[in-house]
Symmetry: C2
Subunit: 335 residues, 2 copies
């Protein structure tokens, strides 16, 4: 069996840490792991699979020693600069940043939805935005069966998606609650503790945020439905981890609720949590630590002929980032 050589770029960030955790769990056929980070984190010692590794500084010659795969999660600028170098060296880059996602020759892949797209890569495969990944895992089987016409997204996104400083802002808010004193915000413009902030990423000229635009454009690309009508409101909530989403869908075809729920139950990567008698539905704390997408509050939207509401929750660091990227790599290893 072939053994692969893997580079993890951005190994010390919040997603990088989760990459290491998921890789430890998966025990893939890997002969060597090398962990890269920025100059600031280089030299740091990490324990991985009971072995000590020194984090190396990412440099232009880092890929001269041949890798099979490089998992990038070091931000858009780093990806833009180093992904082409890595792919030119013969390694396949799976990039968690938004740098290449909308480029025509870069597949944007969620394994449960469009894994076949991963084959047609020119050395770079993009991992989608966290809030898009969990949405399309739930939407794809429904699109196949009932053909989606329009989607209205409203998200409830955890601070872990904003990285270490986002997590710090919420933790500091919690710690200072009883003292009722001031603390310095590290990431957000306003307190995320005790607030819902209707801004994720920067604003675009059309009034949408970049996060909202990502959800709109990436959903179309992953589902191969450039004609889809989509709108989105992306909101940060005071939750540590796992994103929740209120998704309103209009289908072209009519549906029976029972059949639709059964379709979701039969879908790969989906766990249906729908039991109003026992007040069971997906929640963030229960999704955390898992790779599945949880779907509940599944009910007909009576304001439309073929309308549906549902509530979709997943671990944004795992399925929304690290696990999805590693699932893509696993697929390519098996090919």
């Amino acid at each position: 069996m072939k053994q692969y050589k893997i580079a993890v770029v951005g190994a010390t960030g919040v997603v990088g840490q989760m990459m290491r955790k998921v890789l430890e769990e998966k025990r893939l056929p890997v002969s060597e792991y090398v962990f890269f980070a920025s100059k600031k984190s280089a030299g740091k010692k990490i324990i991985f699979m009971n072995k000590e590794y020194e984090v190396r500084e990412l440099k232009e010659d880092s890929f001269d020693e041949k890798f099979d795969f490089a998992l990038f999660s070091a931000g858009g600028e780093t990806s833009k600069k180093y992904s082409p170098i890595a792919s030119k060296s013969g390694c396949i880059v799976i990039d968690n940043s938004s740098a290449f996602r909308m480029e025509k020759d870069v597949p944007l892949v969620v394994p449960e939805v469009n894994i076949e797209d991963a084959k047609n890569n020119n050395g770079i495969i993009a991992n989608p935005n966290c809030s898009t990944i969990q949405a399309v895992v739930a939407l794809k089987p429904l699109d196949d069966k009932y053909k989606i016409k329009r989607i209205v997204y409203s998200t409830y996104q955890a601070v872990s998606g904003a990285g270490k400083y986002g997590i710090n802002d919420l933790q500091n808010g919690i710690k200072h609650f009883e003292k009722n004193d001031k603390y310095q915000l590290e990431k957000f413009k306003y307190e995320i503790f005790n607030n819902c902030l209707p801004q994720i990423d920067v604003f675009l000229d059309n009034g949408y945020t970049k996060e909202e635009e990502k959800m709109i454009n990436e959903t179309k690309k992953i589902l191969h439905r450039p004609d889809l009508k989509i709108t989105a409101t992306a909101v940060r909530v005071p939750v540590m981890n796992s994103h929740s989403e209120s998704i309103n869908v209009e289908f072209e075809k009519s549906f029976e609720e029972k059949e639709l729920i059964q379709t979701l139950k039969n879908s790969k990567g989906v766990i249906v949590q729908e039991d109003i008698t026992h007040e069971i539905y997906p929640i963030a704390t229960k999704a955390t630590g898992t790779d599945e997408v949880y779907v509940g509050r599944i009910r007909r939207d009576y304001s439309l002929d073929n309308g549906l509401n549902m509530w979709v929750v997943a671990d944004n660091l795992r399925k929304g980032a690290a696990s999805n990227a590693i699932q893509i790599m696993e697929y390519l290893m098996e090919q």
Copy 2:
């Protein structure tokens, strides 16, 4: 000038406390206040306008001494039993419970929207659901100008709307975060701390919660638009006070964004907070303590011909409950 005699029923609850606070601020032409509560809270001493009052037990003969107005916020069962007794005694009841809201001969009133309806009362006027009040204040001027066709609500509702035990659950979650130990939930089925719970009030057979049904039905009644198409997802979030709402609207008529924003700016009770250059938009902590409805993130929904997204925030205990009820009473005093 006429001086009125006022009963506050449910004076010790979370909304009752806010009623007292708003009444203290307003200094209305009132000769006497009497505070009622259940047997459990009766006898409790409260300070109101620098004077000590003893809370009285609500009984069937409580309204034998004639009141001009009774502000009820003691839950549906108490309202059902005592509101008819109070109104029969000649007093006008303004009821914060859901008991009478959808009854044909009971006006459901938001002063900025349909204050004229308050005149046609048979002794009981209903105060709408908190999440509906703030929505219709923002929607009414837009309905007048562009005629609403369909609304998709997704809410981000604070724990203060769930009363004292709801607040306790969040506070206990915060206090126990650092110790990472267990605590007893008093109100919610699951931890609200660190979670978004897609359930407010009980489930109905159709899969919707009662809160979602309230938003749908009450919006139609207040706007006098029984034909409106509406769907809703109501979610509790780990925020102490002030509800936020992601509202997606489809209009019959076309609109210009600038003119629409100007329409909202000119509307009574609305404050527009819309400045993406400076990252200004409504947030819960800034709405708390005020009676206005804050509207921002106002932008065209490109997935529809005449679509709009907006983000609406208000203090659910003030505008969503106490202040709205007292504004209705003020109007009737002026008549």
